[in-house]
Every structure is written in C-alpha cells, then in structure tokens.
C-alpha cells in the first residue's frame, strides 16, 4: 500500500513538473477541453440538432473521427511486429509507447461514440447483464466488444510492464510476450470490425464493398506509425530515449509499402466503379467529381489524394525518408490524407445521395468542431500524462525508493525539460 502511495505521489510529481513548453502544451489542451465541454453542454440541451446531421446524412463528423482514430489505435500496436522482426534495441519502449497511443486513441474513439448518441443516458442498454445487447447480429455490439477488449488488454500490459520496471524487477516474458502477441490480432480485429460496421450495410453501396476492411488496415498502417515517428523524435530529445535512426527510417519504409497498398486498393475500387458505371457509381462520383452543383467534398478528395501520393514518394525514396525534414513533412501529409480519406471521405459519400436519391450537402457546425476539439484535447492530455509518467520509468529516472538504476544526486533526479 505504501509503495502504491509512493507511486501515486511520484506520478503526480512527474505530471505537475515540466518545462515551459510542457506547461504551455498542457494549458492549450485544457483550453481545448473547456471549449469541448461548453459545446457538448450546448448539444446536450438542444439535442443533436446542434449538429448538421439530418435524416439524409445521419452519421457524419463524429463517426468519421471515430473511424480514423480506430485506425490510429490499431496501428500503434502493429509497430510491435517490426520491432521484433528487426530486433530493435529499445523494444520495451516501442511496445509501451505504442500501447499508450492505442489507449489514448481508444479513449477518443469511445468519446466520439458517446457524443454521437441521441440518448447517452441509456448507454446501459447496450451492455451485457445490464441491458439487452443485440449480439451477435449487430455489428455495433461487436465493435464495442473488441474496442473494450483492446483497451483493457493494453491497459493491463502497460500497467504490468511499468509497475515491474518501477520496482526495478525484470518482467516475466511468459506473461508479457503472449499478451503482446495477443494484442496484435486484437488490434487488427478492432479495425476490421469497425470496417464491417459500414461494410455490412447493403443499403449503402459505397460501403458495401469487400475491399473496405483491407483498405482500413492499409491506411491505418500509415496513420498510426506517422504519430509514432514524430513522438520518437520528441522523446529522444527530451528524455534521452535510446531510439536509433535506423528504427525510425525502417518504420518510414514500411509506411511507404502500406501507403502503396492503400493507393492500389483505392485504384482497384475506382476502376471497378468507373468502368462498370452502374448506379452505384454516384457515391464515388459525389466524392471525386461532385454531382451537379453539389461539389462540397471534391477539393478534399483531391487534396487527400495529393497528400497520400506525396507522402508515398517521400517515404519511398531512401534519401527523403532518411532526412528528418522531409520525413516529418511526410508524416503530416499522411495524417492529412488519411484523416480526410477515413473520416469525412468515408462517411459522407456513404449517405450522399441518400437511399431515396436526395442530396443533402453536409458540413459540420461550430458545435461539432468544438466537441471534436474537446475530444482531441482529452485524448492528447491522456497521452501526455501517460507518457510523462512512463518515460521516466522506462529510462530509469523514476523508480521505487532504493531501486533506481543509477541513483542520481539530489535535485537532478528528473530529466531536464
């Protein structure tokens, strides 16, 4: 019990202490969260009419963000595979950071589902024992199941690893390894089931293509690692985390393959739609060309494609992927490209035209933007706090009393920020 208290106190100290940049970052996140809370209070009292969703486009910005973030959550852990295959030295760090990112992304996923519900007060109705989940027929019950499984698996793994390291004890490979290996198929299943949520709806031809789940996985393999590459660089600088350049460049190389696959699958889908040119072409057309005067999404579609292609080229050429300036530019481009593609670019054309052929041009309201900013604020804050506690444990500066790897002199126990 004493140890736990010490751990809590130490964690609190880690979280509340930091340089000016850290404090400014946390303050910015808190401001984002405050904005989100105000916007959500407005939505709660007015109802979802505070959004621009209507019967024709009944899922939109929230669900788009949810879908993108499931990809981020899934792919973060997938980095574990190359970490093992290429035997990167700081494998424990890669695993922990991937899982922390997954946890934060999952928190945001669940929040985006919550703010999208018409009756959040009835959330118990979907829970086993408390409610009447329509399992196994309903894909949303499956999604809730795998997302929670993945969340708790990651939480358990991280906690186990951190507590062991904090105490200065070696972790048991017989517990750790099987759980890490289990988290890989579970991470793939979260994104697959999320794809099936849309994929299974015969009423929406834009989603009702078997290529959807593979495309989800391919794009996730780009967006998740893009975050990790940026993160590794920051942590290397602030916490002396021993991550080698080669590891980062290898991730970038793998991302270029994933992006190639993603673009190839997109091409296959576009070919099928445009060449066969059935009535189902309309939805694809709405995204890429617009229908009549309805062209809301067209600039986004081409911008997203340009970002993805540019990032692919940057990551494919060894010279540009080994240059941090072009590498980081590529990461930002991938984020922008996949965010549009898996967000609004997936959801809105699914509903436009509607099942009765009507076009409702959707754009998010200020309330929707505000709530999304708030959710991202919460997610980033969760991630920041988790990283702030974990990294000192991993590099050995935050340990149980008497267990420190290299006892540092008073006052310099924490890395300078």
């Amino acid at each position: 019990m004493n140890g736990l208290l010490g751990f809590a106190k130490g964690s609190l100290r880690e979280v509340t202490h930091g340089g000016r940049a850290y404090k400014a970052w946390v303050a910015a996140l808190l401001a984002m969260i405050a904005l989100g809370v105000v916007a959500y209070a407005n939505q709660l009292s007015a109802g979802l009419i505070a959004t621009n969703m209507r019967d024709e486009v009944s899922w939109a910005f929230y669900i788009g963000n949810f879908t993108f973030l499931v990809g981020v959550a899934a792919a973060a852990v997938l980095l574990v595979i190359p970490a093992y295959v290429y035997q990167w030295k700081p494998i424990k760090e890669v695993v922990v950071l991937g899982e922390l990112l997954a946890i934060s992304a999952l928190v945001m996923c669940l929040l985006f589902i919550l703010v999208d519900m018409g009756r959040p007060d009835r959330f118990l109705h979907i829970m086993p024992f408390f409610g009447t989940p329509n399992w196994p027929a309903s894909m949303l019950t499956w999604d809730a199941l795998v997302l929670h499984l993945y969340l708790f698996l990651n939480l358990g793994l991280v906690l186990y690893l951190l507590v062991k390291t904090y105490r200065g004890e070696p972790y048991d490979k017989r517990i750790f390894l099987p759980l890490v290996l289990l988290s890989i198929p579970v991470s793939i299943s979260t994104h697959t089931v999320t794809a099936f949520l849309y994929n299974g709806m015969a009423a929406r031809p834009y989603w009702n293509a078997s290529i959807l789940a593979p495309r989800f996985i391919a794009s996730a393999f780009c967006s998740g690692p893009a975050v990790m590459i940026i993160l590794f660089q920051i942590l290397r600088r602030t916490n002396k985390l021993p991550i080698k350049d080669e590891a980062i460049f290898k991730i970038a190389e793998l991302m270029s393959y994933a992006m190639f696959l993603n673009l190839f699958l997109l091409g296959a889908e576009l070919f099928k739609e445009y060449y066969s040119a059935t009535e189902h072409l309309l939805y694809t057309q709405y995204f890429w060309q617009g229908i009549g005067e309805h062209r809301t999404l067209v600039p986004y579609a081409w911008f997203s494609l340009a970002c993805s292609v540019a990032a692919f080229v940057l990551f494919l050429i060894p010279k540009t992927r080994a240059n941090y300036r072009t590498l980081n530019l590529g990461c930002v481009l991938i984020w922008a490209g996949v965010y549009i593609e898996k967000g609004m670019g997936l959801i809105i054309p699914g509903f436009t035209p509607s099942t009765l052929g009507q076009i409702y041009p959707y754009t998010p309201t200020a309330t929707e933007w505000g709530i999304a900013v708030g959710v991202f604020g919460i997610g980033f804050l969760v991630f920041t706090v988790l990283v702030k506690i974990s990294v000192p444990i991993l590099v050995g500066t935050f340990r149980a009393p008497g267990r420190a790897v290299q006892p540092a002199p008073e006052g310099t126990a924490h890395p300078a920020h």
Partner: protein, 308 residues
Amino acid sequence: MNDRKSLPVVADDGPADPSRRSFMRTASAGAAIAAVSACGVDVEDVLRSHFKELTPDQLKRVLAKVERRNKERFGKDTKVSATGAREGVEFGYGLDISRCVGCRRCVYACVKENNPSREHPQIHWIQVLEMDKAHGVDLTHADLYYDAEAVPRPGKFYFPVQCQQCRNPPCVKACPTQATWKEKDGIVVIDYDWCIGCRCCMSACPYGARHMNWAAPTLPAEELNPNQHYLGNRPRPKGVVEKCTFCVQRTREGRYPACVEICPVGARKFGNLLDPESEIRKVMDTKRVFIFKEELATHPQFYYFYAT
C-alpha cells in the same frame, strides 16, 4: 432473428433469465442513480426491463406512466394501449403507382394520426418522390421536395415510400440494443424508451424510412392524437428514432391505416395477407406486384403495382 416473440401480453413470452438481469440492475442501481439523477433522468426508466420482458403488471404501470407524462406534457387525457398482434394476421400493403397523383394527402393524414414532430425537425413517415415518366422508377431522377401548383404534373409520376415492413429487416439486425423488432403480424416497431439514438438502423435502412428526433419533438397540444399505442404513435422523446408502424394503434383494432383512409384516388390498399378474401390478396391475385429494391432481399410486406 425474424421470428422473435411478440408482445408481452402473451404471458409465456418471458426472457431466458430475467432474474439475473434484475439482480445486476439492482446491484448497479446505486451507481446508476448517482450518474443519471444529476442529469434529470428518471431513475425508474434507467432500471426498467426490456419491453418484451415486462410482466403484465409492469406493463400496466409503464402504460399508466406514459399517460401521466402525456398529461404533464400536453395537459390532455390520452389512452395508451399495447394491443398485441392478432393470431392469423399478417399485414400487407399495396400501392398503385398508376393511380397515385402525388397530392401528399397521405403524408399529412399520417402526421395528424401519428404525433410526429411538426418542425425542427419536421418528420414525415411517408415520402412522396416525383419521378420522370421517361426514366421509370429511377432514384437519380427522383425529387422529394417537388413544389407544384397542381398535381399530377405532365411527364411525371409519383412514388410514395414509407417503411416497407421487411420480412428480413436490416434495421432490426443493426440495432445494438434490441430496441426495434418485427412483430408477428409483420409490423416493425420501436420502443422509444429503449432506443439509444445511435442511428445504426438509419444507416441500414434502404428506404429512408427511419427518422431521428434530432431535437425535442414539437407537437402542439391541440394537434395531439389521444388514441395511442405504446409501440406506435405515442409522443416521442428527444434523441430517438421513429418510423411508420402501419398505424398499429388503428390496424390492430381492425381499422385502416390513416394513409389508406385519406387517399382520394384509392391508390392505397391494405389487409391481411393470410386472408384470401382481403383487399391486398385481391390485388396480388389480379395484378402483378413488384417490390422496391428487390436486389437487397429485404422481402417487404409492402407491394407496388400498376392497376391500369
């Protein structure tokens, strides 16, 4: 999935294990009460069982509560029933495309009967599409918002769409909480007190038949229809989905749906598919019917035909 048990008025329609659920519900009561009473939500609603698990006594209390709430909300006495499906009845609907003139009287008769929100959001369970004769039934040339001086307009025909009461309903499959189901007489119903407003059903429905209460419904007290069914036209709360129920409050009492009754050209036919003498069976025997979006295999109980 499709042959789910019917209404709880039939005594032996119990759940597999209601006691376990009610135990869990009691166990969670403390936390739930703390969580929801802060938001002004009725605790009894949160801890209630699924509609199909209610005992006759509980159902009576639930219905009385709906009437009490109606009184509070509209200052009017209402009669809320939960009449179950009748044995040997399976409803079928026929719509004669060659007769329909696109006057939308059915749309407004439905509004008057079924207590939907009048504006912000305006909810219509029947959507009449104006289509080009040159294209046939083609949704890319369909206009839902036609504004005509007089109907029918030259070169146009009209194609009304409402819930098709599918035998294989994609909405029921998609619902994560079993808040919507198909009854024995074929009507797909929603328990507005069980719906969580996730709108999976709206994504799944190929007919645009499901409508969301994006805000608290606006329904003037003087326009409230006091004859209500729990699974049909009782006033809805904010944030839940609703749809056509073939006027369950009327048809289970042996009356026509409001849209059938109002149609000035007799384009709408309704009856028991299991009764060879019924109007709908006459249509099916003497005319050739088709169903909307047959490639999706939803197997509607709603048929379109061309009588002339």
